[in-house]
């Protein structure tokens, strides 16, 4: 009975979200606008409650080990630890879509309650647009990916277990944060469409959408950072980014999202670049949807390899094309005068932000080319190919450099006018200093030219940003930009100085790597609730001083008959020691990976700083916005 209850709740949620869409059309003239807004709010709340109910039901099925439910049988097992039973829900396709829909409901509730300053009519339009998305998604779930389908009457006695790669603490948090980000971009998207529909040019649209865009970006940043960290220690090759299509699918909305929040900031100050800002909001959400489509359709051959039926892919693709057509149609119908009372100097802050935007879009398009071209070539020419990581590195590096320079310079520029000559001279002097730094770094350290340049630009950015430390209203920008600089420094150090060695080691054997004595001490059998395996003991000494003892494991998951490497990492802000067991060799030895990764933590530290800054700016901009909207309302009615 319980799974059917969840299905019923899901159907109810669909009916309610359809009501939100249809009601304003049916009751256009018969009910006053005020009561329409009230009905809209309560229906949205009801819809959210039913989705929550359906979600909780699925959790309950997992906790109860109800293997008559197909989704539970495919993704859980009696011996799966309790924590992973709770999170196995988003381990595969059906549950992920349900999570998507649940998070969309959360964002709708957030729009309902958080944005108090927004006029009721606008809020209703935004919620109706979000309900359209919710309706489409729930239809897809019910039609192609119902998580409550039962295997009756002969259901399996035990489940197939959760994919061992996903049995990990970081993975518990990775998909929810990623989806909070992806789905969060639906809110600025809905604001953009509402702007096209309502055509109220004098509303402060940008400042309304900004806190939502910022928090979505913050969540997406955390999601991507967690994913990168998880790949680093769980996949067992010590890489933190692979230019895998699924990773690219999450990076593209992030980059356009960054462009969007900057544009929203410009627009909140001055009514500039309206069409560009609206296009960005639409583009970001379309890329988020595409990310879901790419990951969930099984169209990509990638390490993430989620298998799926083509029916689902077509359903999501159909949904995606409807969203694209409608939103672009609405955008093209937007006509309104934009005031263009002044001439922008190309050396002003507004134009440098626009230039930065262009660079970010160019970066996104080049990633899009590398990600989609294999699919297109497969579909059109039946030619199978892949695009190698060197493509992404060579193309994106110059763009990253230009963006770093823009970030350092733009913060010091005037809003619309060119800077005065004295300032230009100051820039030239500091740039000259930077060039000297690059040359010194190349001569003194083992850094290559590109690495030295990247490090110098990052350092330049930090110094240039810290000049604003006395301005508390800029704290979000300062933290985020320094976060980016730290991230870049992390990449520079890891890629220049990392040591990756693989050995065949006998028990008791010691090898020396860069002055570190690395010993294979012990090997013992271990047993977990749903796996058995081997644990090695390794010690790392330097100058007879014990640095650390590490216990990498090789686990064998019984239900899935799958081997898994559990790496052991001694982490420190400055340097990681990374040990992973390979495989037993013929003569009793084991193949072992021993990596030293200097400053790799900087990469994720930078990501976390950006996320924190985004949340901070979201809260701040909300406060400012409420003040400004209040004054705007006064202006209007005075």
């Amino acid at each position: 009975m319980i799974p059917e209850f969840g299905l019923f709740a899901l159907i109810m949620a669909l009916l309610l979200s359809m009501t939100t869409v249809i009601l304003p059309i049916l009751t256009r003239s018969s009910i006053s606008e005020a009561s329409q807004i009230k009905i809209n709010a309560s229906v949205v709340l009801g819809q959210a409650c039913f989705i929550l109910l359906s979600f909780v039901t699925l959790v309950f099925c997992f906790v109860q080990d109800d293997f008559s439910v197909r989704y539970v049988a495919q993704n859980a097992n009696t011996y799966l630890p309790f924590m992973y039973k709770l999170t196995a829900i988003w381990g595969a396709h059906e549950g992920s879509l349900l999570l998507w829909s649940f998070i969309l409901a959360l964002w709708m509730v957030a729009v309902l309650f958080v944005a108090k300053a927004i006029p009721g009519k606008v809020k209703m339009t935004v919620l109706t647009i979000l309900s359209c998305i919710q309706t489409g998604l729930l239809m897809i779930i019910l039609k192609t990916s119902n998580p409550f389908i039962r295997i009756l009457p002969f259901f399996p006695q035990d489940g197939a277990d959760l994919n061992p790669l996903l049995q990990d603490p970081a993975f518990i948090m990775h998909p929810p944060f990623l989806y909070l980000g992806y789905v969060g971009f639906a809110v600025p998207f809905a604001f953009a469409l509402a702007e096209c529909l309502l055509k109220k040019m004098d509303y402060p649209w940008a400042s309304w959408a900004r806190p939502f865009a910022l928090s979505a970006l913050g969540f997406l940043t955390i999601g991507i950072t967690l994913g990168s960290w998880w790949a680093y220690y769980e996949l067992g090759w010590g890489g933190w980014w692979f230019w895998d299509p699924v990773e690219n699918a999450s990076l593209m909305p992030w980059i356009v999202g960054v462009a969007l929040i900057h544009m929203l900031w410009v627009s909140a100050k001055e009514d500039l670049f309206r069409t560009w800002r609206l296009s960005l909001a639409i583009f970001t959400f379309i890329l988020s949807l595409m990310g879901t489509f790419l990951v969930r359709s099984g169209i990509l051959s990638s390490v993430h390899a989620f298998s799926s039926s083509p029916e689902r892919g077509i359903a999501i693709l159909g949904f995606l094309s409807i969203v694209v057509v409608i939103s672009l149609g609405l955008l093209s119908h937007l006509r309104g005068e934009q005031k263009q009372a002044f001439v922008l100097s190309p050396w002003s802050k507004a134009s440098t932000i626009l230039l930065g935007n262009v660079l970010l879009i160019a970066a996104t398009l080049s990633i899009l080319l590398g990600t989609l071209y294999p699919i297109i070539s497969q579909l059109i020419w039946q030619k199978s190919l892949s695009v190698g990581p060197p493509y992404f590195n060579t193309v994106l590096l110059p763009m990253l450099f230009m963006i770093l320079i823009l970030m350092s310079v733009a913060v010091h520029l005037k809003w619309q006018q060119a800077p005065d000559f004295l300032k230009v001279r100051k820039y030239s002097v500091s740039l000259l200093l930077a060039c000297v730094t690059v040359l010194m770094l190349i001569n003194l350290t083992s850094l290559s030219f590109v690495a030295a340049l990247a490090f110098t630009l990052a350092l330049y950015l930090i110094i240039s940003t810290l000049m604003f430390i006395h301005k508390p209203q800029k704290i979000g920008m300062i933290v985020a930009h320094i976060g980016i600089a730290i991230f870049v420094m992390g990449i520079v150090f890891v890629s220049s100085w990392q040591i990756e060695k693989e050995f065949a080691m006998q028990l008791g054997q010691t090898v020396e790597v860069e002055g570190f004595n690395f010993t294979f001490n012990q090997l013992q059998e271990i047993k977990g609730s749903n796996f058995e395996g081997t644990r090695g003991t390794f010690t790392i000494y330097k100058d007879n001083q014990l640095i650390t003892q590490l216990f990498p494991e090789k686990r064998f998951f019984i239900a899935r008959e799958q081997a898994m490497t559990e790496t052991a990492i001694h982490s420190h802000l400055m340097r990681d020691f990374y040990v992973a067991l390979g495989e037993p060799l013929d003569n009793g030895a084991w193949s072992v990976r021993f990596y030293i990764k200097p400053f790799i933590r900087f990469i994720w530290l930078g990501g976390m700083m950006v996320a924190l800054a985004a949340f901070f700016a979201a809260i701040r901009s909300r406060c400012i916005k409420e003040k400004r909207v209040a004054s705007y309302e006064i202006d209007r009615f005075a």
Binding site: N163, L165, G236, S301, V303, A305, S307, P346, A362, S366, L369, G370, Y373, K383, S384, L385, S386, V387, G388, P390, Y391, T394, V395, E502, F503, A504, E561, Q562, A563, M564, T565, A580, G582, E583, L585, D586, S591, R593
Partner: protein, 141 residues
């Protein structure tokens, strides 16, 4: 006569167009340099496949063909049930690597028509077969 403003704008437009076309040209060049085509073992053996260019080869690992050489070197044979090709690799294989299972290797073909892999990918599923192999099996039968 062009005014100063016009000249300025013209200059701006030319720089923009020039910059954009240069960027696009460079991106497309980097792109074409980094495309790794997929070949089946049959294509590797029967047709001319460029040597010393990074390609991908996929197929099923032949049972009993896996051999360990010294210094973490391994050798195994991959088949598409029509032709076979030996693959050499140095390093640690992925957890999911098993004989009788589908894999995809990235690397280069040497002059003796042996494939020297720099990366071996295996899939999460023991029933997995690279889609290209499934497709070529279908077209043959």
């Amino acid at each position: 006569m062009l005014t100063r403003l016009h000249r300025k704008r013209l200059f701006l437009i030319f720089t923009l167009v020039g910059g954009v076309s240069l960027a696009v040209a460079l991106i497309l060049y980097a792109f074409t340099q980094n495309i790794n085509l997929f070949y089946t073992p049959t294509q590797c053996v029967e047709t001319k496949v460029p040597q010393h260019k990074t390609i991908r080869v996929g197929g099923m690992v032949v049972k009993g063909s896996f051999k360990r050489l010294d210094d973490l070197k391994v050798e195994f044979i991959v088949t598409d049930f029509n032709q076979e090709i030996p693959i050499y690799y140095q390093g640690i294989l992925p957890d999911l690597f098993k004989e009788g299972q589908g894999i995809v290797a990235l690397g280069k073909l040497d002059e003796h028509n042996r494939f020297v892999a720099s990366q071996v990918l295996a899939k999460h599923d023991e029933k997995y077969m690279p889609p290209e192999i499934t497709a070529s099996l279908k077209t043959r039968s």
